[in-house]
Amino acid sequence: MLRRIAIAAAVAAVALGGSAYAANEGRPPKDVHFSFQSPLGSYDMAAVQRGFQVYAQVCSTCHSMEHLSYRNLGEPGGPFAEYSVRNHQTGEMENRVGLPAGEHGEYVDVVNNPYVRAIAAGFQVPDIDQTTGEVTQRPARPSDHFRNPFANEYAARAANNGALPPDLSVITLARAGGAAYVFSILTGYTGEMRGTQYVNDYFPGRLISMPPPLASDGLVTYSDGTTATRDQMARDVAQYLQWAADPHMEARKTMGVQVIIFLLVLSALLYLAYKAVWRGQSH
């Protein structure tokens, strides 16, 4: 809230000063709406799933997400969490990804989640061969951290003209505009270049080392059939990165509603008790 006041003050100061924004700061992020932004809003899990697909096929070539493990995808609140739900036509229990609104279901432990196992197995991670002691590659397991595309910072810089692709685990918390900033960066390229850098009005300093990652429509083929326009992909990956940075948001908001309702009732009761105690006492 304080930051919002500070931003408002800064905007007012800039308006008085006459220039739209200082040259070394990027433009304020685009005014883009996400379902999770409202106080009670939740993630659009289909978008988080699609966003993960964009991350896995595009972003993960350069960007690590070292604080996440593949199992996080299938934990409660994750995009591939599986639940055992009764099929109302057949009466049988079936496993399905996500809990449909109003349904009850039992969470299926991520160890038994075939989607997460398959996703993990699609990545090769380094390991030590226990018979030879040599460094080998093996398919990832759900318990593995997300594969780091580079062995170390020097390798990452060497492959990217000296620039270091930041880790994306908490990127929406680490940038002032959050998911809207991510969306604006991904869709904010003007198409111009200066040397090896690209002009992007939403990036501080206006020159970004990252080549336009979503250069054309249809870069990924969404498994749910959604048309993969550049805007759609940017939105989806922004939503996915927000989930990655704040995976317990839905549980947090749900508990928050319960706590606030409890405290409101408690306050009302305490107020009545306070009134009753002080009745007859002037103060």
Binding site: R3, A13, R252, V257, S267, W278, Q281, S282, H283
Partner: protein
């Protein structure tokens, strides 16, 4: 108050215990029978909230310490692990981080209340000083705690604050190295900061015990500032004050929960989600919101005071701004305790609160941001159109002799009839002196809102004048700019003026309103206009 205990042990066990360890008697006398002025208002409920905050910070902190790793390579990741993988870790970490802000929110209200109602006046000086000590310990603990996540703001905040200590005359640098555990912020710093961050809350708890002890010895102040005289003036602490405290604390918890559950990061800085990087300074280094007023005072000193350089002066002023609170009981000379009956002082107090908030705002801004600029940037361009140019080469043996040679060349050109001269320096020892004679002298004044705009207009004007004159003399004038730093200087001046000049003088000069004889009379009499 001490001496007259009303506790009567009811059972055999409590009678037995009372003779050996009268702890139930102490609790009864302190928190049940303790006489409380019947007129205390909601501003008095923040003490209860503060004890709750201390409890919440200690309990959540102990749990966090079970999972946190004070290691520069693992600290950031361990906080992420707490947020992601520790069951309800996100809740505990949010409670602890938001709890620090709530703690300071409550302590500021508590302190402003103490100043308004004169709660520091005799016989409560020691009570007040213990409170100030708790506040200083809270600041230290909060600063140490903010370092632990080892994000960019953690690292650079620690760098800035330990640099501040380096400004202390003579011993500063030794202290700086001693605190950091080396020349720079590194693993030893994090380790000791973690250790001290775990230690200090228990020191705070100890001083809180003394604070409460002093409170029970002197008794609570109240909105009239009149000491209770008879039993009519007071009610027992329980259930009267307890119920009021519980109700107010419940409302406070709603605010607390709103931040914890719906905007846990709103009070923090996004840069602290970037892992600490000693080779990359963030574009702005700011402390948490509750320390911004003192940060603004520190930065307000952008000028040297005689032999004292600006940094030392700022550090001194920042420490003095907290230090002055310790001697407040002796700065305020008024015989009337509560500002409710001090018509002038209460207005100066309201301004003081506004100044403190404004200082906080300044602390979060870029110090060079221009808030108001009454004039505009001006440049006066002088040149001679269509004159005749003459030139003279200057060549000297050493750069030291250059000025004399260039003055001589210009004087010579003027003697030859040039009305304007200019020296274009080419190297340390060579230059070209230009003179213009005849032609028509021209003048143009350019004004612009910013210096960038002015330079652009000057460039445009020069292009327009072009070849008609070999050179243009430009005189630039910058207008007065009211920057954030200037604003903070005014506010800082008022901050100290309030304590050091106003309170001592007002107490002697001000004519207070009539103070009620007893608390009971103030309650039963006509309704008060002021709280």
């Amino acid at each position: 108050m001490s001496g007259s205990s009303t506790y009567e042990p009811k059972s055999g066990f409590t009678r037995w215990l009372d003779k050996r360890l009268p702890i139930i008697r102490l609790t009864h006398d302190s928190f049940v029978a303790f006489p409380t002025p019947r007129n205390i208002n909601y501003w008095w409920t923040f003490g209860a909230m503060l004890s709750l905050c201390l409890g919440v910070q200690i309990v959540t902190g102990i749990v966090l310490a079970m999972h946190y790793q004070p290691n520069i390579h693992d600290a950031f990741a361990s906080v992420q692990r707490i947020q992601r993988d520790v069951p309800f870790g996100w809740l505990i970490q949010n409670l602890h981080a938001v709890g620090a802000s709530m703690f300071f929110l409550a302590v500021y209200v508590h302190m402003f209340r103490g100043i308004y109602y004169g709660s520091y006046k005799a016989p409560r000086e020691v009570l007040w000083i213990l409170g100030c000590l708790i506040y200083v310990l809270m600041v230290a603990t909060a600063f140490l705690g903010y370092t632990l996540p080892w994000g960019q703001m953690s690292f650079w905040g620690a760098t800035v604050i330990t640099n501040i200590l380096g400004a202390i005359p003579f011993v500063g640098e030794s202290i700086q190295v001693w605190i950091r555990g080396g020349g720079a912020i590194d693993q030893p710093t994090l380790n000791r900061f973690f250790s001290l961050h775990y230690l200090l809350p228990f020191v705070i708890a100890g001083v809180v015990v003394l604070h409460v002890w002093a409170l029970h010895e002197a008794g609570q102040n109240n909105p009239t500032g009149v000491e209770p005289k008879t039993k009519d003036d007071t009610v027992p602490f329980t259930p009267y004050a307890t119920m009021k405290d519980l109700f107010a604390t419940s409302l406070f918890l709603i605010l607390f929960a709103t931040f914890v559950f719906f905007m846990p990061q709103a009070l923090g800085h996004s840069d602290n989600f970037i892992p600490a990087n000693p080779v990359q300074t963030p574009s702005e280094i700011v402390p948490e919101w509750y320390l911004l007023p003192f940060y603004a005072i520190l930065r307000a000193f952008d000028f040297n005071i005689g032999p004292i350089d600006s940094k030392t002066a700022g550090v001194f002023a920042m420490f003095a701004s907290i230090g002055v609170l310790f001697i407040l009981p002796w700065l305020d000379t008024s015989r009337v305790r509560s500002m409710r009956y001090r018509p002038a002082a209460r207005w100066w107090f309201m301004i003081f609160v506004a100044v403190a908030l404004a200082l906080g705002w300044c602390g979060g801004q870029n110090p060079s941001t221009v808030l108001a600029q009454p004039g505009s940037f001006r440049a006066t361009l002088n040149w001679i159109a269509n004159g005749q140019t003459s030139q003279q080469r200057i060549q000297v043996a050493s750069p030291a002799a250059f000025q004399a040679a260039s003055d001589a060349a210009e004087a010579q050109l003027r003697a030859q009839g040039a009305t304007m001269t200019s020296v274009v320096r080419e190297s340390g020892t060579t230059a070209l002196a230009l003179g213009v004679s005849r032609g028509s002298p021209e003048t143009r004044v350019i004004t612009a809102a910013t210096s960038d705009d002015l330079e652009a207009e000057i460039t445009a004007a020069k292009a327009q004048i072009g070849g008609s004159s070999p050179f243009v003399a430009i005189k630039r004038e910058a207008p007065f700019q009211f920057t954030v730093t200037r604003f903070a200087q005014l506010l800082t001046a008022y901050y100290f003026f309030f304590f050091i000049v106003l309170l001592p003088l007002l107490g002697l000069r001000e004519k207070p309103n009539r103070v009620p004889d007893t608390i009971a009379k103030s309650v039963l009499g006509q309704t008060q206009g002021a709280s």
